[in-house]
């Protein structure tokens, strides 16, 4: 029997669908992007994509991985991994267009194809009832997490957002919030000992947008909150922006898979979508409702999708924006990046 663990790292892949197939689902933990990917240093290679290649290559050979086409470098990473002998790779087509019934149908068909892949990995085909039950469970977990958000430091929030995208093997707190001590980093790490005052309402309200945050980035979030900022919105790629909307109970009752498609494909705004105006609308709406006074963008070198947007946001958002273009050897929590964030806070007024 194959190991039924499935790794993934894209929010357009519904965790409920995979869990309902009876496999153990794990979010692919990318602790840092400074390691070697086995690809060798290649000009133009996104360090995140390289880190994903490295993580998948070093995972159990029996585990499967789901990648998506939302980013060209990830798409080619799938090809690279398969060529390197990794045959348990599923590359899910997530259409860039979203306005047509055909695009939606393509997404649905890809979920069905994913389902067949999971069955080949040792999973089983779920009944409607099972899918509905799993969806309800994850929906409640996300609702609990959202409720707990105001009292959480940004780094905890960020970690919890990953944990609610996994099979429920972690310890659950009284509030229903998923806490996995393992995810809180190495206690020996100096950054782990610095914690923002949780729930400090007086901090400057900030939004975080851009590519995924890694374990190594969380020290930056703590430092910013310690220095007087407060992240009221995590709109990064793995942040709250890419959580599906709450399920409609009645529709989920009638046709859970259709509701799953609507909640994920139908509502998650992202920079890869064409056109991407729902993403702009999301930012504008959330910035107003959360009274955001400053924006921190975290992006990776060679990530064209995020990079191309930054200058435009500077123009249309009308809010100070700090663009942190991270490099392979620079952790966001240290050195220049830290100094820039602190200056930024000073400029917009703590």
């Amino acid at each position: 029997m194959a190991d039924r663990t499935v790794f993934y790292c894209n929010p357009f892949v519904p965790v409920e669908w995979m869990v309902a197939h009876g496999v153990t689902v794990r979010w692919l933990r990318i602790r840092s992007v400074s390691g070697t990917s086995g690809v060798g240093p290649r000009q133009g290679h996104c360090p995140l994509a390289a880190a994903v290649v490295e993580a998948v290559s070093s995972a159990s050979t029996d585990a499967a991985t789901v990648l998506t086409t939302t980013c060209d470098q990830m798409r080619h990473s799938g090809s690279f991994l398969r060529n390197g002998g990794q045959d348990r790779i599923f590359l899910m087509n997530v259409p860039s267009t979203w306005q047509t019934p055909a695009a939606r149908q393509l997404y649905l068909d890809e979920l069905l194809r994913l389902g067949r892949f999971l069955i080949r990995q040792g999973g089983r085909s779920p009944s409607k009832e099972e899918l509905r039950e799993v969806m309800g469970r994850f929906d409640r977990k996300r609702a609990n997490l959202r409720q707990a958000r105001p009292s959480m430091a940004a780094s905890d929030w960020s970690l919890s957002l990953m944990a609610v995208r996994e099979s429920p093997s972690q310890v659950e707190s009284d509030s229903g919030m998923v806490i996995d001590p393992v995810l809180h980093g190495d206690p020996a790490d100096s950054t782990a000992s610095i914690h923002a005052p949780k729930g400090a309402p007086q901090g400057v309200p900030l939004a975080l947008i851009g590519g995924p945050l890694l374990d190594q980035d969380r020290g930056l979030l703590d430092r910013v909150e310690f220095a007087g900022g407060r992240f009221v919105l995590d709109a990064t790629e793995w942040g709250e922006r890419t959580l599906p909307r709450p399920f409609d109970e009645m529709r989920a009752g009638e046709d859970p898979l259709t509701e799953l498609v609507d909640a994920y494909f139908g509502t998650i705004p992202d920079v890869f979508r064409r056109p991407n105006d729902p993403f702009d609308a999301y930012l504008k709406r959330e910035f107003v409702s959360r009274k955001v006074r400053g924006v921190v963008v975290v992006r990776y070198p060679w990530c064209d999708l995020w990079h191309a947007e930054v200058a435009r946001w500077k123009a249309f958002l009308d809010i100070p924006l700090l663009d942190l273009d991270r490099t392979v050897d620079e952790e966001l929590s240290v050195g220049r990046a830290r100094g820039r964030v602190e200056s930024f806070l000073e400029v917009i007024g703590r």
């Binding site: 133009g44 398969r82 860039s96 055909a102 064409r274 056109p275 200058a311 435009r312």
Partner: protein, 469 residues
Amino acid sequence: MSEIAKITLEEWDRRYEELRAAGMVERPYGGLLRRHVECGDTRLTRLSLDGSAAALRLWNFLLTEEDRLREARSQGKKILGTMKDLGTIPVMAYSLDKVVAFYPDGAWWLPCIKENRTGLLAIADRIGVDESFCPVRAMLGAFIGKAHFPIPDLLTCSVGATCDDFTAIAQRLVDLGHPIVWWEVPHRRRPEAGEDSIRLSAGFDVPVSQVAFVRSELERVRRVLEDWAGQELTDERLRAGIARANRVRRVLGELRWLNFTSEPCPLPSLEMMIAEMLSIHFCSDQDESLLVLEELLEEVRRRVANHEGVLPSGAVRVFWVNPVADLWVMNLLEEAGGRICGNDIMFCHALDLIPEELPPLEALARMALSDPMVGSSDDRAERICSEIERFGAEAVVISRIPGASHCALEGAVIGEVVRRQRRIPVVEIEVPPLSDSLEPSLRTRLGALVEIALEARLSRLGESDTVHG
């Protein structure tokens, strides 16, 4: 066998007079090549060029495209800017009576042709699209500056399995006030066990469902084009349009075969590459592009029959992957002792014949899915291997495009598959729009490749002389 020397732009002045004196009849876009330099196409002065009347016509046709587009507009024709799909939508556009189509993407060569004097890249820099993007960012500068091609009346752009550079830059165009009709081409995948599939003419097996999806997207584009052009785009019209496109592709097919297999090499790689580019959108005049290619084919046939070539016999047969941002590098390869024998410059699907027996949008959907860039790098490598065998290439150059998202990993995959299957040397180089500063390194790398390939050739010859050979 005799060698026809390539000539410089200066030598072209005299050659031009000789051809005129010999009775050369030119088209309205004809004339001295030098005039293009005076209009800013200064890279021509760095190039070694073919000295035939056919090549002169080819260059003149290429370098007058912007004039042709303006002329079309003044005649009341509508201009469609087709982006990214490289070869599919133009077939539909040229099936309409009063539409011309071109690729704004082609602006990526402007920094090279005009040797960075256009300021296009600087404009892109100013709006935050810097050198970490592919040189196609020059397209943004061209839209903003409005100093090159006329701004199209309608834009289409294929998305999905495309490079992120392009889709990100195209989205910026929308923000600059140029709406785009997006259409999706999904990542081409291999069929699963038991899944209905179709073998594309490119040799790839693809699920029927993917073809049906792309066909539905093309149906959507058809309706948009009909509304916009005010003319029904019937299947009959599309069939005729496909037949016309295939005429161009047939000529190119013979031209490629003769040029990649004849000894000595009858046409320089630079002119060959430009000829191939005409298949994508016919350089904004489908009928004329056919005539230009036919004249070039006649010239090549004549040279082959006379055993004439532009390179010494025995040049190393190189397969080239990806287009070069700097045309001059085609010259460098030949100076290093190589010649092009097969290529994948990202639009192989625009060189393959479109099936004429199928419903037209079904045929075009299959062609769109044959695009080497929408599938995996493994698939692309497989096709490259089969073309290497077909044309007898002895070495491979993978030419990286600076900043292009697909170039980060594909070279590693293609290189490995080629080495494993064909056991020939592979080199990866990066070619920016102006590569003069990299000349020593490029010469060294290309020279080393040629040397290794020659050694392998000698070794093969030695083996064939043994009793077991």
